[in-house]
Every structure is written in structure tokens, then in C-alpha cells.
Point group: C2
Chain length 194, copies 2
DNA sequence: CACCGAAGGTAGACACCGTCTACGACGACT
DNA sequence: AGTCGTCGTAGACGGTGTCTACCTTCGGTG
């Protein structure tokens, strides 16, 4: 971002992001990142005392990226809340599918320290956007907006997870996750408008 | 189970199950299991050529356990499909919360080989139970039963995941996942009966 | 100008991991 | 009695994260 381009700290994060996107979460070792950044294996320690710190910084970039994608999608989208929610959901699932390694890392709480590096502060705005749209699309008989938004998010997340896991298509016979996505949106927000 | 109690193979799996339940997924190393089983670090290799094989066997026990719990719950439950689905869902979430390490392992596709050890065959019956109940509770205007069941499962799974992740309560302000669970069931199956 | 002290990166050690391989003990069967 | 399989041992190898001692380099101050 605004960090010195040549600064090792930023370079380590950039290399890590590239690595997790290209080779998945398990490839992101401290030593491998250091190697690709052209420094010794001990160098990262100056900026990231622990592996968790570096991974958290990388995951933070992932949340920022996802948030930016969602905002970009919404910028060009219809004003109708239901349509916007559909676009948001599709962006979420597309992100999970296209950047599987990063998506996995982002929710591996055992590898991350959500307290450090303002990881949580980076992920909350995304939920706020979702919650705001849900509040607009909510019908009077629905659950409270926060609960409805949480349930919908959980549904999106579950679809992404189970899809990555591999048994969902096998169990449902679906060949794509679009049917599941539409079912989830219909369930939480009511039938799609004509 | 029916395996020789004194057989090393069964003992390794039992120790692994115990270990993952007690200390979480990251504690389940080949060498630690061997240590606790009182054998050398190379011994497991005779029965489980690779770490993935042993973890898969452990996860298989997890699925069997979860399936058994669900079946036990349903045995004593009301015949009404909606009630039964609620009981199933609660059992699923309770399991995820109570045996977090095992639950994590069960869906860590990067640590498991779903092909080997009939892991998939062990997890599918559980989904079949869910799908069967959903088919009974399904309303005519709902999505096809398989899709509806998949979407509901994804919702359950997402609630479990995000709850474990830790940001859900923070975002929704909920102090328990019961509100989310009820919202999910209501969304997919229609409002709860009086 | 000389010095010095901190910042930033190097390099080696340590314990642990999964995997591979050579080897020994032991029991059953011919 | 002898031989062959089965099963577990034990050591090595390359990998990991972390810790620590060291070196280099550069900016400010006497």
C-alpha cells in the first residue's frame, strides 16, 4: 500500500500473497517466503516475530482484496438490494473458488492471530456491507437484520467451504454451485423477483 | 470397534482420536501418536503409509461418531420432519462446538484423502439422513430436495465454521448460535410451526 | 573527522516433523 | 530344523519455526 516499495516488510507480504495464491496455504512457509524474497531465513523475524504474524498480514491482504472486489462489483450494480446481494454473493463465491488458497488461509483461525494486524478490522467492513444490504432487502416477518445477515453469510461461507471440500456436488448431484447459491438467496430473502 | 483391541492399527487410530479431541488437529503428528501408543516413530508406517492415511482414518471415526450421535438423537425424536431436522441441526452444531479439533480435521481436505479408507462413504450416509428429512419437510414451491438439502447443510456448516472462527458473534452481536440456527431453519423450511 | 551505536540482515544451532531404508526379532509352516 | 513373512526398531535426510550470536552499514554526535 503506502509502505515503501523496497521495504523488506512489504516485499515479504507481497511474496507471501503471490505464493499463497499460486501454490496454496501449505506452501507459505517462512523460509520459502524468505527464499523468494532473496533474503536469509532469519530476516523476516525482524518484521514478523512469528509465522502467525506474517500469515496474518497476508490474510489481511486477502480480506482487503475481497472487500475491494465486492465494492467494485457493487459500484456497477443495480440499486435494487436483492440484485446487489446476489452480486455480492457471487463475488464471494467466485473469490473463494478462484483464490482457494487465500480463502482457506483467511479463515484458518489456527494459523492467524485475529487480534494482531487489525485482521478483524479488515474483515468487518465486508460484513457491514452485507448487513446493510440485508437490512434493505429484509421483509417485516424476517429475523432481525443482524441475525438474517449472519445466517446468510454463514450460508454463503458454507457453500464455499463444502464446495471446496468436494462432497457437495457428489451429494447433491449439482454440477455447479449456482443452484445452491440461488436456493440460499431465495431462502433467506424470499423468492427472486420476476 | 470390531478390530482387534490389541492390534496396533486400531490402537493408533484410537490414540489419534483421543489426541485430536483433547489437543486439536495440529497436535496429531505421526510421531506423537506413535509415542503415546508406545511404539517407535516408524511403526505406524506399516499400517498407514502416510500421515494423510492415518489422519483420514481418524477423521473417519469422527464421521462415524457424528453419524451415530445424529441417529441416536433422531431415535428419540418426534416424527415430525421439521422437529427432526431441528434436532439434527442442533446435534451437528453441538458436535462442531464440543469436538472442535475433530470437526476441523474432518473437513480439512488438504490433510485427508477422501478416496482412501472410504472416508466419503462414511460421510455420505449422514447427508442422506438430512436429505431424506428435507424431502419430507419440503414445500411444493421450494427448490428440488437435493438442492434444498445441500443449501441447508451448507448453512449449518457455515454457522459452525464462522462460529469457530470467532467473528460471527462479534459481527451479529449474538451471544449464542441458536438465533442463527433458527433463522437458517426458518429460511430454508419456512417459519416454525406454532 | 573519528567514533560509536543502533538498525537490519546473515548464519548456525536446536528440536520437531514426515518419509525412507536397512536391520533385527519372532513365529508359523514345510 | 530351517526358512520365509510379518512386525516393529532405529538411524538418516531434508524440511520446518524459532532462538541467538554475529556482522555490516550508515547516520548523528563528540
Amino acid at each position: 500500500m503506502d509502505a515503501d516499495e523496497t521495504g523488506l516488510r512489504a516485499r515479504l507480504v507481497a511474496v507471501g500473497v503471490d505464493l499463497v495464491l499460486r501454490e496454496g496455504q501449505s506452501a507459505v512457509s517462512l523460509r520459502e517466503i524468505a527464499r523468494r524474497a532473496g533474503v536469509s531465513h532469519g530476516a523476516p523475524r525482524r518484521y514478523f516475530p512469528t509465522h502467525v504474524d506474517l500469515l496474518s498480514a497476508i490474510a489481511r491482504e486477502g480480506f482487503a482484496d475481497l472487500t475491494a472486489r465486492v465494492e467494485r462489483t457493487l459500484r456497477d450494480a443495480d440499486p435494487d438490494p436483492r440484485t446487489r446481494l446476489t452480486a455480492l454473493a457471487r463475488t464471494y463465491l467466485d473469490f473463494a473458488a478462484a483464490h482457494r488458497g487465500m480463502f482457506e488461509l483467511m479463515f484458518r483461525h489456527d494459523l492467524l492471530d485475529s487480534g494482531r494486524l487489525r485482521l478483524r478490522e479488515t474483515s468487518l467492513p465486508l460484513f457491514a456491507v452485507l448487513a446493510d444490504l440485508v437490512a434493505q432487502a429484509r421483509r417485516p416477518t424476517d429475523a432481525p437484520a443482524a441475525v438474517l445477515a449472519g445466517a446468510l453469510w454463514a450460508n454463503l461461507h458454507g457453500i464455499a467451504q463444502l464446495w471446496a471440500w468436494g462432497s457437495l456436488p457428489l451429494a447433491t448431484g449439482a454440477t455447479d454451485d449456482d443452484a445452491l447459491l440461488r436456493a440460499a438467496l431465495d431462502a433467506h430473502l424470499g423468492p427472486a423477483p420476476a
